[in-house]
Each structure stands twice: as structure tokens, then as C-alpha cells.
């Protein structure tokens, strides 16, 4: 889980750390007072347009310096770019390719800029192109690639020097469902291997699907961070948890759950075969539900949280008025 940075838990080894970081572009706020300590795994960065996601990514990749505070990756700051950029692989959101280059040349040329010898660069280029499934198209010019292929070749160049932290700005844009599934599987494989994969995305259900933890940002401020279930639990007081119970006697269940003081709402679902319950204490509700099932012999088909996902948390914290 992402830990807010404090003196007690400051552990730069193996983490991407923001210590009270603010970034201003003149009078314009980029991000303000950000404290984060990001562990390995997939971290989803979620927020509306202009919320500061790209600023946060540019800060951790050393492309911009904070106006205040300190950013470090595995304890290495932007003052040591040689070491820092060995650790980081960054794919920006921009569809930017030098004219005339083939997919192979695109990946290989930036490896040479990285300082790899010609032989090593070639081997690593093939390896990363293979990882993203672009070996057959390697000899074709990037200008002729589809949007999905361009996304994948950008991912290949970010991965090619074998970084420890992969920072990807909107990496799923333009991918067809098959390619999307393959890329998500690749993220999972890399994260399971100990890599930090930091992904920004507008597609909330995909962030929910792939992320081990999320960072929600709005107006330059971090509004929530951590594993999505933990974030949701912390919001129970202001936003009672919703649980959908599909069963054969939802009316009976409704009458029983209303006896509980933590239940604030119980509503029959449209098909009449389920009950949507809003509760301030989901743990107690689950215990009570067990008792009700045993007492009344309800036939329960499923019990599932209805708003314990990124989308719901996003709606509660950032609001439906914002473009996601």
C-alpha cells in the first residue's frame, strides 16, 4: 500500500518518494504539498484533466524540478541523472516519433542515447519489441503504424533499457481490446517481478482492474492514496458503503437490515431479485447478514460491494462534474 510520507516511514530504498513536493509554473499550481512513498506493483494515477498527473510524472522522471520539497527514486534524486535515468523508463502521452524511423530504429536510437553499445542496444531492442509483440513490424516505419502499434512501440522504448520504475502516461489509449488485455498482462508480469509500474489513465475501470494501489489527484492536491479497498473504507463515514445482495427474499432481508443502526438505506433492485444496502460499517453488516441468512434461511446468490471501485471513489472524492 502507498504510505503517506512521514519521518517514521521514510524508506527511500525501493520506493518512489515525494517529500512535501510542490511545483508551480509561475503563478500556476502544478502540484502542492505532495507526500507519497510508492512501493513496487502497479500504481494507478487518477484525476481529471489538468489535475497534476503529468506534473507528478514529470517530477518523478526528473524532467522538472520541484519548486519545494524533494523527489527521489530509490533514494536517487534528479541531481544524479545518470543513475536516475537508468532506473526510470518513461513513455509520455504524446504521439511523438522522429520522422522516417522504423520501429526498430526508434527503440534502438534511444538506447544509444542511453549509452548502450551498438550490439547491446540491438539485443535489447529485439527483446523489448518481442515483449510488446512488434517483432514482425520492427522494420516498418513508425509513421505507418496504427495507433495501437504506436502505443506499443512507445512502451517498448520505455521498457528497453530494463528500468526499475516504469512511468506510463495514458498507456492504454488507442489499444484495441485484445492489445489492451495483452498490455495489461504485461504490466502484471512486470509488477509481479518487482517493477514499479506507475500508470495514469482516464479509463477508471481499467485502473481498477490493473492497479495494486491508486493515487487520486485533483487540483494539484492528492485527495486519496493506497489500496482502493482501504481508501473506500476510510470514506465510510461520509459515503456509506453500498453492498448488493442478490437473494430470493429481498423484502425480508430489507426488513431485517433496517433494524441495524449502521444501515442508512436499503433499496430493492429493479428486477426484484436483490437488495442494495448502504451501511456505515460494512464489516458489521457482513456479520449481521450471516446471522440473517442462518435465521431466515435466505437463499443468497451473491454478495458484492457496489461502490468499492476506483470509479465510485473517484465520483465521491472528485465528483461527477469533473471529466474523468
Amino acid at each position: 500500500m502507498i504510505a503517506p510520507m512521514t519521518a517514521q516511514n521514510a524508506a527511500p530504498e525501493g520506493r518512489v518518494v515525494f517529500e512535501n513536493v510542490s511545483k508551480f509554473y509561475g503563478d500556476v499550481l502544478g502540484v502542492n504539498r505532495v507526500n507519497l512513498s510508492i512501493p513496487p506493483g502497479i500504481t494507478g494515477l487518477v484525476g481529471p484533466n489538468g489535475s497534476g498527473k503529468t506534473t507528478l510524472m514529470n517530477l518523478m522522471t526528473g524532467l522538472i524540478r520541484p519548486s519545494r520539497g524533494r523527489v527521489s527514486v530509490f533514494g536517487i534524486g534528479p541531481d544524479d541523472p545518470e543513475a536516475l535515468f537508468r532506473l526510470i523508463g518513461y513513455a509520455t502521452q504524446f504521439d511523438s516519433f522522429p520522422p522516417g524511423l522504423t520501429g526498430f530504429q526508434f527503440v534502438e536510437s534511444y538506447l544509444r542515447v542511453h549509452g548502450f553499445s551498438a550490439k547491446e542496444a540491438e539485443a535489447k531492442t529485439w527483446k523489448s519489441l518481442e515483449r510488446v509483440g512488434l517483432v514482425e513490424a520492427a522494420g516498418r516505419k513508425v509513421a505507418g503504424y496504427s495507433k495501437g502499434m504506436r502505443q506499443r512501440v512507445r512502451l517498448a522504448q520505455a521498457l528497453s533499457h530494463e528500468p526499475s520504475v516504469l512511468v506510463l502516461d495514458e498507456p492504454l489509449n488507442g489499444l484495441d481490446p485484445m492489445a489492451r488485455a495483452e498490455v495489461i498482462a504485461l504490466f502484471r508480469e512486470l509488477a509481479d517481478g518487482g517493477l514499479h509500474v506507475i500508470v495514469s489513465s482516464h479509463i477508471l475501470h481499467e485502473v481498477d482492474l490493473i492497479s495494486d494501489q491508486v493515487v487520486l489527484i485533483n487540483g494539484g492536491y492528492i485527495v486519496a492514496e493506497g489500496e482502493i479497498t482501504d481508501v473506500r473504507d476510510e470514506m465510510e463515514e461520509q459515503h456509506p458503503a453500498q453492498v448488493l445482495v442478490r437473494c430470493d427474499q429481498p423484502s425480508l432481508l430489507a426488513s431485517r437490515v433496517f433494524e441495524q443502526d449502521h444501515v442508512v438505506e436499503a433499496r430493492l433492485v429493479e428486477d426484484g431479485k436483490g437488495l442494495l444496502v448502504r451501511t456505515r460499517d460494512a464489516d458489521r453488516f457482513h456479520l449481521v447478514l450471516n446471522e440473517i441468512i442462518l435465521d431466515s434461511g435466505l437463499a443468497v446468490e451473491s454478495v458484492e460491494p457496489a461502490d468499492a471501485d476506483v470509479h465510485a471513489v473517484y465520483q465521491y472524492l472528485i465528483g461527477s462534474g469533473e471529466k474523468s
Partner: protein, 291 residues
Amino acid sequence: MAVYKRNYGRFQGATTPTWSRFLVLPRYAFKDVFQGRLFVAFFTLCFAVPFVGLILIYLHHNIAALKFMNLPLAELKNALPINSKFFLAGLEWQGGLAFLLTLFVGPALIAPDLRNNGLALYLSRPFSRTEYVLGKMSVLMILLSLITWIPGLLLFFFQSYLEGFGWLRENAGIAFGLFVGSWAWILVLALVSLAVSAWVKWKPVARVALIVVFYVFIGFAAAMNGALNTWWAWMLSIWVAIQNVWASLFGVEMDPDIAVPVWSAWVTLVACCLFCLWLLSRRIRAYEVVR
């Protein structure tokens, strides 16, 4: 406590020296530039004058060849002496071609990266803004060197070889003038064209801007000088400045109409370079601030 399984291997080997990495940029730029037939034809033509110079130097030292061609020997030898004026004329001609070559190549160097937000691709690697500019500059520096001081010095050494060591010793200033004069022009051309490329995204407009900067200012400066009865306005003209620098380096008298003190010519060139570096530093950034 969380336990993270680590099976992803990071590269731990040695890398190439930092100073050499900027050379990756011209490698691909050359590939792109030499794909155009028009450019290849023009670049080949740039060697015509050095080749003619080579023939002239050869004929100058081979009386037998001139005799065979039934040409009046003495007049020819006197009409075309191989001296500082000969090399200065070559440099002026090649300098003009260098400007045309810059019009071909320069505007496309930085603008596409900026247009596509491509700078982050370079700068998110162990590659600084200075190295980026140096890499882009080196495209022009290499191409312009090939048509200015390199053929110039080859001709100089060829002449020295035919004339003898004494001539080389007496005329070492010509070699110095060729080298320093060419580099002064190359640096100015490279920096101005990069600065224009960084600020003007559309290639034809960038080309017009380069013509304005180098040549239209001459007319403006002349008008100002005429109106104010002074020579100071020549300091606005890069072309006049480089002409004066070249003339002083080769020890040749300058056309009085555009003659300025040599220090002022150098001031113009240095100020121009510094201004271009400032323009580049304002523009070459990994991100663009949207206000």
C-alpha cells in the same frame, strides 16, 4: 511486512561515455537528410569550387600542362596568384553555399521535436539539454565543415606540398584564417538556424526568417547608416560582420563601403551566438507550460 518477489533483472553493465552520446543524433539526421535527391545533388555541387581550386593550383605549378593547352603562361600565373585572396574568395563562395545548405537542413532540426512534444524522449534519458543542442548542432557542424574548412585546408596543404615548406611557413596565417573563419561562420549559422527552428515550427517560414536574419538586415543597416551618417548599424548585419572578420583573418583590405572595426564585427558575431543560446535555453525544455 510486505514481501516483494523480485525476478525482474535490471541492466548492470557498462555504458558508453557520456560525452559521445550526442553523436547519436546526427546519425539519424544524416539518414533523413540524404534521402532527398535534391539535397544530394546540391551537396555534391558544393564540392565543385574546391575541385576547380584544386585544378587551378595544379596548373599553377605545372607549366608543362599549361604549355600543352597553348595558354599564355606568364599572364595566367599573374592573373591568378595562389595567395590569401585566392583562399578568401574560395571561403566566401563556400560560405554562401554553407548558408544555402543551412536553409535546407537547419529548419527541420528542432521544430519536429517541439511540435510533437518529443523532447521528453531525449531528456528522460541521461542526456542533457546541452547535449541535445550539441547533437543537433553537430549535424550542421559536420556538413558545413565538409564544404568549408576541410576542403580549404586540403587545398592549402596541396599548395604547400607543391610550393614547398617555405611557402607553408610564410602563409600559415591563411590556414589559420580558413580554420577560424570557417568555424566562426559555422557556429553562427548553426546557432541561428537552431534558434529559428526552435521558435518557428513551419519550415518555409523558418527559411524566410533565416534569409531575413542574414541578408535583409543588410539593407536595413545600410538605410540606418545612411540616415544617421554612421557605421554603427552595420553591427546589426551578420553578413557584414563575417565579411569583415574574414578580411581581417586573411589580411585583405575590406570594401570601404561596408568596412567596420574588426572588434565590432566580432562583437556582432558573439552577441548573435549568445542571443541564440538564450533563445534555445528558453525553448528547449522537456515540457511545455500551458498557462
